[in-house]
Symmetry: D2
Subunit: 213 residues, 4 copies
């Protein structure tokens, strides 16, 4: 199970979380990545942890002020990017163009969506993975696997039907190893989480409980 920790715009120390993630990943031979603010990608990368962007813009090199060029995140050390997170919804045409941008820059991609129909839609655009995150559960501490397991099952089935090569991650409300185990049980290939680690008093302990499921 892939564990992607989204630091959002939280007031945590991104390097401290990154160090914890890197230690846990190494010790447990787990696949853990951290997605900081774009301006912190370089310092997070320097910890050795797998680093992701939270978003890349649907642009190529050129006159685009204030965008997040996919290549600039890759140059800083990112190896993947989230797209269309519920806190940063994109136009459909821009999801498509941002996927092109990410591929051009060699970034892996996870496109978020909030129900099985939308999961089918984004799977049709050929990302590496999709993540189902019912907006009403984000940040609640109630895992989607518990609150509405059918959404995960239906998302897995929807992605499978459209493109079996697309992985499915499960987001919203994940905070314990049991939540990770439940997500895996439902067919997910990974989990997205944020506050459960980024706001934890002890991010390393939080991560350990996640990977020791």
């Amino acid at each position: 199970m892939f564990v992607l920790v989204n630091l959002k715009a939280y007031p945590c120390d991104p390097v401290a979380v990154a160090n914890a993630a890197e230690a846990v990943a190494t010790e447990h031979d787990s696949d853990v990545a951290v997605a900081p603010q774009a301006a912190q990608i370089q310092s997070v990368t320097e910890t050795g942890v797998e680093t992701w962007a939270q978003h890349v813009s649907p642009v190529e090199h050129g006159s685009h002020t204030g965008s997040t060029l996919a290549e600039s995140t890759a140059d800083a050390g990112a190896v993947g990017t989230l797209l269309n997170h519920s806190e940063h919804r994109l136009k459909l045409a821009d999801i498509d163009a941002s996927l092109d941008a990410a591929e051009r820059a060699g970034l892996s991609t996870v496109v978020c969506a909030n129900n099985p129909d939308q999961i089918a839609a984004v799977a049709a655009l050929g990302p590496d993975a999709v993540a189902v995150e019912p907006p009403e559960l984000i940040g609640t501490g109630t895992p989607v696997s518990q609150a509405d397991p059918d959404i995960v099952r239906d998302a897995v089935a929807a992605a499978e039907r459209v493109d079996p090569a697309v992985d499915v991650y499960c987001g919203a409300g994940i905070s314990t190893g049991d939540d990770v185990a439940a997500a895996e049980e439902l067919g997910a290939d990974g989990v997205l989480l944020a506050s459960g680690v980024a706001k934890a008093d002890d991010p390393r302990a939080a991560l350990e409980s996640l990977v020791e499921y």
Copy 2:
């Protein structure tokens, strides 16, 4: 005259331009800053050059994925930020909130606008500076000071009327020292430029011609 070099999403080497800018600023005792992609702020800062963000989001610490938190750019080394560039227009309420965010993070601010009425509008929000950039001249190589000097004069007068403490910069089409001198003549306190330096074969020579006006 303040010289702010916006690297946009150009395929230039941001560190090379930053080194050139730092050398020219030191040698000529000039005020030169460089605004790279957010993901390159840290590496540009490490050259010692004054570093700016191209944009900051109107958010505080919290659940905001894919935003550009003002504090994150300051943590990476930025000391100022552009806002409302013609390639990244903002809602009026967001310019206001982004100015609050920048102030909170200790960043200087330049708000762009494309005519004297809009300059008066953004000056009323209390930024450190405003920049008049008629969109039709951006990237043309024809300086606004030449194409339409009245726009600069009227922008200076408009900002002065609303808030005399607000500096006025002049953008669009600046590429030579003569353009900088003309902007100063018209009452501007600085210039914004991009392709004239970022796309130059020799960015250092381009910057020297700008500061030796």
Copy 3:
């Protein structure tokens, strides 16, 4: 005092509210207008009431699908338009262009904003009027004149300083004649309201209480 009733996307009968508004305006020789959905402008106009648009797009005639062309609302009978309502915030450059569009189509304009600084900003763009609506009070039933009278006073002063020809309206929480009187006392030239009339069991009685202040 001008009374502008914004019907938003409420499930009320726009023609019934319009008839009530027209009757009250005639009987009390008051200045009352109704702003329905664009698709209802024609039927509302047919009641004889002064009819406003809730928004017009910053476009001219041309290839703009799904826009609200200023001329199309005028052709249907609108004589004015709201702009930049807190439920439909616009980019600064688009407020400017939408004001041009409204002027071109002969529509009066009220630009909303949520604090005195933003009121100064929009007044600088030359609208007929501005409306101060602190977002936190919209729909609360607590009038801004009571919750925070200084915001209204400061908004009136800010607009006066920038352009004395610009009227100032007061929105958010207006529901009674006392609220209208208080707004007038604070220097406002009119009021914007919505739920107080549109959701009233008896819109005519609600309007009468407003104009008989």
Copy 4:
């Protein structure tokens, strides 16, 4: 073949085009509809022609100023709506919510997209129809069926694969009956066009040539 004439924000007389469309539809027993600005839906409906909206917002009844409530277009007489036109791109989540809104209001739906991958994506959201409109061909007079027939074939195949119940329309560059015949040949169930009729000197003649293919 369904023929949907999008009047965009063109300076044509919407009622004149609607009368022409209604006459041609009746005379040739063809399926012709007209999509005017929201403010003209009522007057276009009064001609008897099948009337569509150019867009509906992803909102329900409530506090949404300046939106286009699906119910308001239906109340004015619309029986269908375009969504996600290349001139009005929507966020993926908003396409989904606007489809819900349209269904709630009893409107038929056509979701636009600009390539086969995006066609598969929007087909997964369950609209009545999708329309493939390569942006580079819109308004050119060069029909997609001629410029790039594979796009139409691939779009038809993509929609079929995702949901065989979804019709496929063909847009961009349609102006003659031959273009309609070519679209049908490639598997399309209808055509979208705009300038070919709305800007024609004789809209009725233009429509006749389209339905007499």
